[in-house]
């Protein structure tokens, strides 16, 4: 029955990923914890997986004019060379340490998100956004 879980994990990861909510975490967590896939391979699977999900999300939300391309390109400009650095670091690290680093990152983000206070105005603006379509 494990294929049902795989489908559910893929579905959840795709949905959260397309919302820019860290769906990548779900698939890596599922692969490493439930299926015991090695950390680096799980990360690789997640990377490939994210590409079509991102294209779908960008098509939908680009059409809705929700994407701020100007800001996006600034982040990408800084991000591309740094990606090489991150990849190089991952290659130097032992798999065990890499998964511990991943776990620490999950914990930090989880705690931050859990205790983050939402500003009311943002919620309202979001609504306006939705109505404007």
């Amino acid at each position: 029955m494990s294929w049902i879980w795989s489908i559910l994990a893929g579905f959840a990861a795709g949905a959260l990923g397309a919302m820019g909510m860290g769906g990548g975490g779900i698939l890596v967590i599922y692969l490493t914890l439930a299926l015991s896939v090695p950390q680096l391979e799980a990360q690789g699977i997640n990377l490939i997986f994210f590409l079509p999900c991102a294209v779908i999300s960008m098509l939908i939300n680009g059409k809705r004019k929700l994407i701020d391309w100007k800001s996006a390109w600034k982040l990408v400009a800084g991000g591309l060379p740094a990606t090489l650095l991150g990849f190089w670091i991952a290659g130097k690290m032992e798999t065990r340490w890499l998964s511990i680093f991943f776990a620490v990152f999950l914990l930090a983000v989880g705690v931050k998100e859990l205790f983050a206070k939402e500003k009311k105005e943002e919620g309202n603006e979001g609504k306006k956004d939705g109505e404007a379509q």
Binding site: A15, V76, T83, L106
Partner: protein, 121 residues
């Protein structure tokens, strides 16, 4: 904030997103969304924009993983179709739901998974 300063901040923050993407193959969005909000984007726009930031970075990292044989293209097969269905739903829902409760549930899940991962082996 001056335009120059803001651009510098965006590029610096973007490089952190890149390091995470290359190193962990995930997690860039968790940095990109708050960063984009700091740059003045609304919540919904920040989420939508984060995806388009991570896409080119992921493309680069994927190529690196593939050419160094860290992963095979076929390994993802099983997850692609449900993932695409999920992405369609997620993409359509993005502007519709507040997402607050979803983020809180996901936060609990991340904490649980982080502890499990540390205890593994």
């Amino acid at each position: 904030m001056s335009d120059k300063k803001e651009t510098g901040k965006a590029i610096l923050g973007g490089s952190l997103v890149g390091v995470l993407n290359g190193m962990l193959g995930a997690g860039g969005g968790m940095i990109a969304v708050p960063l984009l909000k700091k740059l003045g984007l609304r919540q919904t726009n920040a989420h939508a924009t984060a995806v388009s930031v991570i896409f080119p970075l992921t493309l680069l990292t994927t190529v690196l993983y593939l050419v160094t044989d860290k992963v095979e293209l076929g390994a993802t097969g099983l997850y692609l179709l449900p993932g695409a269905a999920g992405a369609l739903l997620g993409g359509l829902l993005l502007a519709k739901i507040p997402g607050k409760w979803l983020r809180k549930i996901f936060a609990c899940f991340m904490i649980w998974a982080g502890i499990r991962m540390m205890m593994k082996k």
